[in-house]
Each structure stands twice: as structure tokens, then as C-alpha cells.
């Protein structure tokens, strides 16, 4: 045993600084590995909007058995990877879909199921249903048909898995990068009072996907809602009670 006091170096060599580029590479390798694993274990949120829901039991259960390729249903949005929009979306349902979508953790994938999610389908001239899902939340894929058979649903899952594995299922990043556009479309439909409990911009910062389209004139309206919540409402803010229209 030595009685000399240990020398603590100013610059411990074990803790050398990792340069940003190096971390970037490592992170990319990890991401690719994670994508590879993720593609093999996907949970679909058990939330159904239109007639298409009826095709899911055969897809998931023993006849077609999606679980053998790693896709299974999940009951809560926070634990789900895939939001399958099974058919027509009424304006009211779209609000719930957006609330569910924003609660899901990234990376998350949206699949439009049936013609209704692509262009309104047979409800093309209905005042109550939205026509294009991808204007309001970004979608990774669509299944055409009214309604698509389980084989088609399986096909879209397999396509999505391939895309995830290849690191190309990145629609969720678009929601952060162009949040202002999506929010603008939502507000055009629901009115300017529309806002959700999720702070999407903070999430965009967290994931590192703040782009030119993240903030804009519509997110400025959101800031006004935040100010209102703090009892600091601007003069021209809509009356209290305007929000009652949001959710019944």
C-alpha cells in the first residue's frame, strides 16, 4: 500500500470527448439496428373508424394470423406503433384520431385502410366525412379497396415492415417537420380554437426534427391558446365557450 495521495488528472483519459460526427455514425448504426428489430414487432392500435374494422378480426385471428409475422393488436395509443385508419373518417372522428395519433410515441406509422381514407371513397360527396387522411396526419401507406380483404391488409403490413427495415417509413417525421401545414388543415376544418394537449413543437425539438415548416402562422395561433390558458388572453381572443365546440 502506498501512502501517497492519488493524483487526479485534470483531463481523465478514459473520458475523452466524443466528436459529434462520430456520435452521428454510431447513432445511425444503432438506428438501423433498432429499425431492423422494430420491423419485427409491431403493435396496431385497436381503434376502428369505419366499416373496415370488420376485416381485422380475420386478419389477426387464426385464419390469416398476423401474429406469425409479428403484428398484433394493442389497446392503448401510447404503446402502439401503427395507427390503422379502418375506413371513412367523419369530421368528429378525425379529432379523436388526431388526439390518438399525437399520444403515440415516435416512431409511429399510419396506414390508411380503404378507399375512404384516400379520397373519400363512396362518401366522396358527404358533408360529414373528410376526404384525404394524409392532409391531417402523415400516412405511410394506403390500401385501396372497399373494403380491402385480409390478404391486402397483410400485404400492407409486409410492405410497411420492409419500409421500416429499410429506414424509409418516415412519415411521422413529416408531422414534426411540417407541423404548421398539418395544423393549418386541421384548423381549416375544426376552427381556429382547435388545439390538442400534446406539445408537438416540444416533441419536434426533442426528436431533433424542427424544420422550416414546424412553426408558422398556425402555430402562432396555438401560442395564443397557451397565453389564454395562463389567463393572459389577448383582446381579440374568442369568447370562453367557443371551446365547447371542440369536444362534446
Amino acid at each position: 500500500m502506498s501512502d501517497t495521495t492519488p493524483v487526479i488528472p485534470d483531463q481523465p483519459e478514459v473520458c475523452r470527448t466524443v466528436d459529434a460526427e462520430e456520435r452521428g455514425v454510431w447513432r445511425r448504426v444503432m438506428d438501423r439496428f433498432a429499425d431492423h428489430c422494430r420491423a419485427r414487432s409491431l403493435f396496431v392500435l385497436h381503434y376502428c373508424t369505419g366499416c373496415g374494422a370488420i376485416e381485422l378480426p380475420p386478419t389477426i385471428t387464426s385464419r390469416f394470423d398476423m401474429e406469425r409475422v409479428g403484428v398484433s393488436p394493442m389497446v392503448t395509443p401510447r404503446q402502439a406503433d401503427i395507427l390503422l385508419i379502418t375506413g371513412y373518417l367523419s369530421v368528429k372522428t378525425l379529432k379523436r384520431v388526431i388526439l390518438s395519433y399525437e399520444q403515440m410515441q415516435s416512431p409511429k406509422y399510419v396506414l390508411g385502410f380503404g378507399s375512404c381514407t384516400i379520397n373519400g371513397g363512396m362518401y366522396w360527396n358527404s358533408y360529414a366525412t373528410v376526404k384525404r387522411l394524409d392532409q391531417y396526419i402523415p400516412a405511410d401507406g394506403f390500401i385501396a379497396g372497399c373494403m380491402p380483404r385480409p390478404e391486402a391488409v397483410q400485404q400492407v403490413f409486409l410492405d410497411l415492415m420492409k419500409k421500416i427495415d429499410a429506414g424509409q417509413a418516415n412519415a411521422w417525421q413529416d408531422y414534426y417537420l411540417n407541423y404548421d401545414r398539418y395544423l393549418g388543415n386541421q384548423m381549416a376544418l375544426f376552427g381556429e380554437e382547435w388545439h390538442t394537449p400534446v406539445d408537438v413543437i416540444a416533441e419536434a425539438e426533442h426528436y431533433g426534427y424542427v424544420g422550416d415548416g414546424t412553426r408558422g402562422r398556425f402555430t402562432e395561433i396555438l401560442d395564443r391558446h397557451a397565453a389564454y390558458a395562463l389567463r393572459d388572453a389577448p383582446e381579440d381572443y374568442p369568447e370562453r365557450g367557443a371551446n365547447e365546440r371542440l369536444l362534446p
Binding site: 369530421v91 379520397n119 360527396n125 358527404s126 358533408y127 392532409q135 376544418l189 365546440r245
Partner: protein
């Protein structure tokens, strides 16, 4: 086809109502046309004397040709095994009628629905606030005068029918059958 007879029980109960017209239909259905003022009394009589307890539906038809709303009250009796639909017509303007909530409680829902979809006001209905279309600010959408397509064109955008994803599908041998029936030219 043999002309069906007006069921005798119905005849005996309803014959006193002035201006009533009873038309038997196929099966156990009977159509009754009455003046707007007499309808609550008829529902009351049917319910009290013949057991027409079940109000199946109230429906509304907008007739732009005559500027009228037609209201159809459909009731069913377990005792008589018979469906009666009572038709009344009211002028489109001001589009007001009385509620039958005090005779059949479920009428509250139907009246609220018709109020929302056609704008008819039911006097004495317990609740005519927004029902299903909570975020709708337009005119009552079931009116024939409401141009749905114009509203849709103004509110929503269409997808281009030759988008990228379709080319991917076509590359795999799928796609839209442009030769088929109803194909866009």
C-alpha cells in the same frame, strides 16, 4: 291484388277523428294521414286503447315542390301486431310543430335529430341542443336546398388520381382498370 281491409279495431278507435284517412298497406302496416292538429290525439288513442306503446321512429321528408315538411310517426303495437305510420305535413316556413314527448318519451331523441338535420322546431321538446353534428355551423344538412357537393368542393381537396403510390402499384401489376366500366375518359 286483393285490396287489404282496414283492421276493424283501428277503424273503431279512429273513426271519430275528422278528416282522417286510413290506408292499409302490405302485411301488418297501416298508413294514416291526419291533419297536424290531430296527431297527438291519435298517438294518445292508439297508445291508450290499442297498446301502440312503441314509437319506432319519427322521420322527416323535405318536399321542396310544395314547400312542406312531411313528418312520419311510426308506432308498433305488441298486442295488435300492427305498425301504424301516421303522416302529417307542416309548412316549411316557419317549420314548427308540437312535441309528442309527453306521450312517447323516446320522441325527445327523434325530435332533436330532426331539429338538427332539417331545422324543424318542436314546441315542448325537452332538449333541442346540438346532437350529433356538434361542430357543424352550416345550415341543416338534410335540407334539399343544401348543396352538399358545393360544400364538399369548397371544404375539402381531392387527391390526384395518378399519384406516386399508384405508379408503384402499377409496377407490381395492380392499379386502376382504366378500360373498365365507369372509367374516367
Amino acid at each position: 291484388m286483393k285490396q287489404a281491409q282496414v283492421p276493424a279495431v283501428l277503424e273503431s278507435v279512429l273513426h271519430e277523428i275528422p278528416g282522417i284517412q286510413i290506408t292499409p298497406k302490405e302485411g301488418s302496416r297501416v298508413r294514416v294521414d291526419v291533419a297536424p292538429g290531430a296527431l297527438p290525439a291519435i298517438l294518445e288513442l292508439l297508445k291508450g286503447q290499442l297498446g301502440f306503446m312503441h314509437l319506432s321512429a319519427i322521420s322527416c321528408i323535405d318536399w321542396p315542390q310544395t314547400d312542406e315538411f312531411e313528418l312520419v310517426y311510426t308506432v308498433w303495437s305488441h298486442e295488435q301486431k300492427m305498425t301504424v305510420s301516421a303522416h302529417v305535413t307542416i309548412p316549411r316556413d316557419p317549420g314548427e310543430y308540437v312535441s309528442v314527448y309527453d306521450i312517447h318519451t323516446p320522441a325527445g331523441f327523434f325530435e332533436r335529430d330532426i331539429h338538427e338535420m332539417f331545422g324543424v322546431r318542436f314546441d315542448g321538446s325537452p332538449n333541442l341542443r346540438k346532437f350529433i353534428l356538434t361542430s357543424w355551423n352550416g345550415p341543416p344538412p338534410m335540407l334539399k336546398s343544401f348543396d352538399t357537393l358545393a360544400y364538399v368542393e369548397e371544404t375539402f381537396q381531392w387527391v390526384d388520381y395518378r399519384p406516386e403510390w399508384l405508379r408503384d402499384i402499377e409496377a407490381k401489376g395492380g392499379g386502376i382498370d382504366s378500360e373498365g366500366e365507369g372509367a374516367p375518359s
